[in-house]
Structures are given as structure tokens and as C-alpha cells.
């Protein structure tokens, strides 16, 4: 009987299996003892959803509804209002985390980097109602993953304090009725 046949023979293979398992007595457990020992979650881990602010401290969200459309479980609800200064804001913004599957599609859909997922997964509650987060619970005081991005400074929308053609990528508007070259 050659070596390979011996290794595959019924009784030897069983004994070998038992020996291999027995050797694991001295192997360290792979388990992370969770509540005491937190596992490392990468910065881009898809956990609890937040709404971020632009560098000047204003809300980034323009309530365009793209996140609500992208959401596969329809857990986002919001409504748009236009303020006196021309900025668009969410009148209310509600995420039902008892439905949310943390897929991150809303983050991908967001044109203003407003909605972002964070590496916080400890969302457990005793009362299901407490999992419905309103805008005040979602808003954070920082820009999140894109520190320098400000939507209104990039787009051509006119708001108070920023006229037409004053955005970062714009040139001043041309007077098409003038005679100058």
C-alpha cells in the first residue's frame, strides 16, 4: 500500500482527523469577546447613518430625495423647503433604522455628500420606536468623510452671500447684450 492510499484508507483517515482536531486544544480561539473587546471597524464600514455639514457649518442636505429613491427598503422619508436665503433644506428627515439594511445606496446616491454611513453598529434598542431617527438625531457637527466639500461653493445656484458666477469653478457671467468683445 503506498503512502497516499494509506492516508485515504478508512481507519487511518479517521484517526488522522481526530489527531488534527485534538491538536486544536492548544490553538488560540478566534473569537472576539464582543461587549468587552470591540472588533476594529474600518472607517468606511457601513453602520449608523448620519447627516453631515459643510465646512462653514451649514447643512449639506438639499433634500433632493435621491437617497429615498435609492433606498431598497424605503426607510428614508424627507421633505424639501427653500429658505429665504435660497438654500434648500430638509423640512424633516427621518430614517427608520428598524428597516434600514445598511446597504449604503443612499450614500452613493447623495449628490452633496450629505448622507454618510459611519462605523457605529451598536443600534440596539428595547423599544422599536426608538429606532426611528429624526433630523436632529441624524445631524452631526462636522463634514464627515469629505472635509473640504461644500456643495453651494461648487454649484451655480444663487444663495444669499453668493451671486451668479461666484462659485469656485465658475467665471463671472458674460453680458450677452453688451457690445464689448
Amino acid at each position: 500500500m503506498n503512502k497516499e492510499k494509506l492516508a485515504n484508507s478508512l481507519i487511518f483517515s479517521q484517526l488522522r482527523t481526530m489527531w488534527l482536531v485534538l491538536k486544536h486544544t492548544f490553538t488560540k480561539a478566534d473569537t472576539v469577546q464582543y461587549p468587552e473587546q470591540k472588533p476594529y471597524l474600518a472607517p468606511r464600514y457601513r453602520g449608523r447613518i448620519v447627516l453631515t455639514r459643510d465646512p462653514s457649518g451649514e447643512e449639506r442636505c438639499v433634500a433632493c430625495n435621491l437617497c429615498a429613491v435609492a433606498c431598497p427598503v424605503d426607510c428614508i422619508a424627507l421633505q424639501q423647503v427653500v429658505d429665504d436665503d435660497g438654500r434648500k433644506r430638509a423640512d424633516f428627515f427621518r430614517i427608520n433604522f428598524s428597516r434600514c439594511i445598511l446597504c449604503g445606496f443612499c450614500e452613493e446616491a447623495c449628490p452633496t455628500y450629505a448622507i454618510q454611513l459611519t462605523p457605529d453598529v451598536e443600534l440596539a434598542e428595547y423599544d422599536r420606536q426608538n429606532l426611528v431617527y429624526e433630523k436632529e438625531h441624524l445631524l452631526i457637527n462636522g463634514p464627515g468623510k469629505y472635509p473640504d466639500y461644500s456643495f453651494y461653493q461648487q454649484s451655480g445656484i444663487v444663495i444669499a452671500g453668493k451671486g451668479k458666477g461666484e462659485a469656485e469653478q465658475e467665471r463671472p457671467p458674460i453680458d450677452i447684450k453688451g457690445l464689448m468683445p
Partner: protein, 324 residues
């Protein structure tokens, strides 16, 4: 006369009162040890090292609804787990724990053990039948076929021991091993007894009656609450019983070689030997896959039975010629 009987009753009570918590502890030990062998921790939250896990499980299972399926055969359904637990507990009556401890010195102790092991199959078959469901019935049928097949050479494998010691009394079998354990000459018999014992207590890799991957939970699919706990108790007591019988028949019971025997009392040595076997049972459970049912029966009838017969004949011949 009376004080003697009372003393006996007290002894029985103490043995049962120790055996049942021990079976419960075995559940925790098994889960913990399997965890270690699978690079996990196992249950380690309840009490120090999770030692109270079984207590928590017990409290939980007592709080469960004791549900009897309306489609079942009520009386038999209730009776089945009780038969199982009682048969295993009865077998412990003939186990000699130490020179002075042991419920009964039955002169047919070994036969009594085999008879109780045979009766225990009724619990599984009746449970499968009374549950009136497909999975339970399949499990019960498998148990019947498996136990009947493996019983045959379980009895044959220990006949070598009887030949060499000349008695069915388990205490005398132990005492006959004071010169040397029977494993020296009966290693084939021991191997056959162990395999048959695993099949009798339907533990992995021979747990086809309850194979959860194919039969949900086999014969105890419909059981819950306290009756389910009784099945579990029976299973873990069965593991202990087979370990104890292996030690008594082949590893000299409470006896140890000269320098070691003085270190610890005989009962402790007996328990240590049993624990080694229990650990071996758990190791088997973690490492070996379950065979197909026809493979199991074929292995029993085509390999083990001839081997048991051969062992018996060779032992008899050697006995006759005076070698052993």
C-alpha cells in the same frame, strides 16, 4: 435488616443525586470542549467559566410550555422519554464505583447491563412512533435497526471478558483485573465494544436516529420542555454509562497499578478514567463525519460482527490452550 435497607436506599439516592447533575454538567463540558477544539470559547458567560450554563439551560427548559402534539399518541408520547431515562439509570445499579460503593452485586450484572441497553431502544422507537410525524418515525426506525444490529456484537465483544474472568458479576470482573487490565488481551474486544457503545448511545458519528441535517431532530423532533430534557439526560447518562462500562470491563475499574493507586482514592481513579472516555466521546463528535445509514449497517454486519466472532474464537482457543 431494616438499617441495612435504609443504608442501601440512601446510597441509591446519593448516586442518583450525583449522576443527574453530572449529566447536566456534561452538556456544559461538551459545549466548552467542542468550542476549544473548534477555536471558539464555548459558553463562558454564566458564572465562572460558564459553569452555571447548565443551570440556566435547566431553568429555561423548565419555563417552556410542556406541549404534547394533538396528533400524537398521548400516553406513549409521555412514556417514551421516561423509559429512556429509567433504563439508563437502572444500568448504573450494577456499576461498581469503588470497593465499597455500588448499588447491587448482581451475579449477572453484565447481562443486566446488556438487557437495559436493549430496553433503552424502546424509548427511541416509541418516541418516533408516538410523535406521528415523518422525521420522528424515520429517526425511530433508524434507531431500531441500528441498535438491534450493534447490540449483537456488543454482547459478543464482552464475551471475551467473561471467558477470561469466568464471571458475569461486574465487581468480580474488576477484581479479576488486579493482575493486569483486560485491555492487554482484549483490545479487539474493547474496540468493538466502544464502537457498539457509541452506536447504542447514538452519539456522533453514529447519531443517525437524530441526524439534525437530514431529520430535523429525528425521534425527538416533536418533544419540548421537560420531556426533551429527559431525552437529553438519557443521552448524557448513556455516554457516562458506556464510559463506565468500558472502564469496568477493560481498564480495571477503580484499580490502578501499584505506585499510582496510593495517590488517590479508588473512586477518584474511577471517575478520572470515566472522564477520559467521555472526552474521547466528545472528540469523536467534533472530528468525525456521520456515515450514510446503509454504510453504518454494512459496517456493523460485514466488519464488526465477524471481527467480534473472530475475537471470541481466538480468545476461547487461547484460553483452552492456556496462553491467557
Amino acid at each position: 435488616m431494616m438499617p441495612e435497607m435504609l443504608w442501601k436506599l440512601l446510597e441509591i439516592t446519593i448516586i442518583i443525586a450525583l449522576l443527574i447533575p453530572m449529566a447536566a454538567m456534561l452538556v456544559w463540558v461538551e459545549r466548552r470542549v467542542i468550542g476549544i477544539w473548534q477555536d471558539r470559547h464555548g459558553p463562558n458567560r454564566v458564572g465562572p467559566f460558564g459553569i452555571l450554563q447548565s443551570l440556566a439551560d435547566l431553568l429555561k427548559i423548565l419555563g417552556k410550555e410542556d406541549w404534547i402534539p394533538p396528533f400524537s399518541d398521548r400516553l406513549v408520547f409521555i412514556l417514551a422519554p421516561i423509559i429512556g431515562a429509567i433504563c439508563v439509570l437502572m444500568s448504573f445499579a450494577v456499576v461498581p464505583f469503588s470497593p465499597d460503593i455500588g448499588v447491587s452485586d448482581l451475579n449477572i450484572g453484565l447481562l443486566f447491563f446488556l438487557a437495559m441497553a436493549s430496553l433503552a431502544v424502546y424509548s427511541v422507537v416509541l418516541a418516533g412512533w408516538a410523535s406521528n410525524s415523518k422525521y420522528a418515525l424515520l429517526g425511530g426506525m433508524r434507531a431500531a435497526a441500528q441498535t438491534v444490529s450493534y447490540e449483537v456484537f456488543m454482547g459478543l465483544s464482552v464475551m471475551g471478558v467473561v471467558l477470561l474472568t469466568g464471571t458475569f458479576n461486574l465487581r468480580e470482573i474488576v477484581l479479576a483485573q488486579s493482575e493486569g487490565w483486560l485491555i492487554q488481551s482484549q483490545f479487539v474486544g474493547f474496540f468493538i465494544f466502544l464502537v457498539a457503545g457509541i452506536a447504542e448511545s447514538h452519539r456522533l458519528p453514529f447519531d443517525l436516529p437524530e441526524a439534525e441535517t437530514e431529520l430535523t431532530a429525528g425521534f425527538h423532533t416533536e418533544y419540548s420542555g421537560l420531556k426533551f430534557a429527559l431525552f437529553f439526560l438519557g443521552e448524557y447518562l448513556g455516554v457516562t454509562l458506556i464510559s463506565a462500562m468500558s472502564v469496568v470491563l477493560f481498564f480495571g475499574g477503580w484499580l490502578m497499578p501499584e505506585p499510582l493507586s496510593a495517590w488517590l482514592p479508588p473512586l477518584v481513579w474511577f471517575i478520572i478514567k470515566i472522564m477520559c472516555f467521555v472526552m474521547f466521546f466528545i472528540l469523536l463528535r467534533t472530528s468525525l463525519p456521520r456515515p450514510r445509514f446503509d454504510q453504518l449497517l454494512k459496517f456493523g454486519w460485514m466488519v464488526m460482527l465477524p471481527l467480534a466472532l473472530l475475537n471470541l474464537i481466538v480468545t476461547a482457543l487461547l484460553r483452552l490452550t492456556g496462553v491467557l
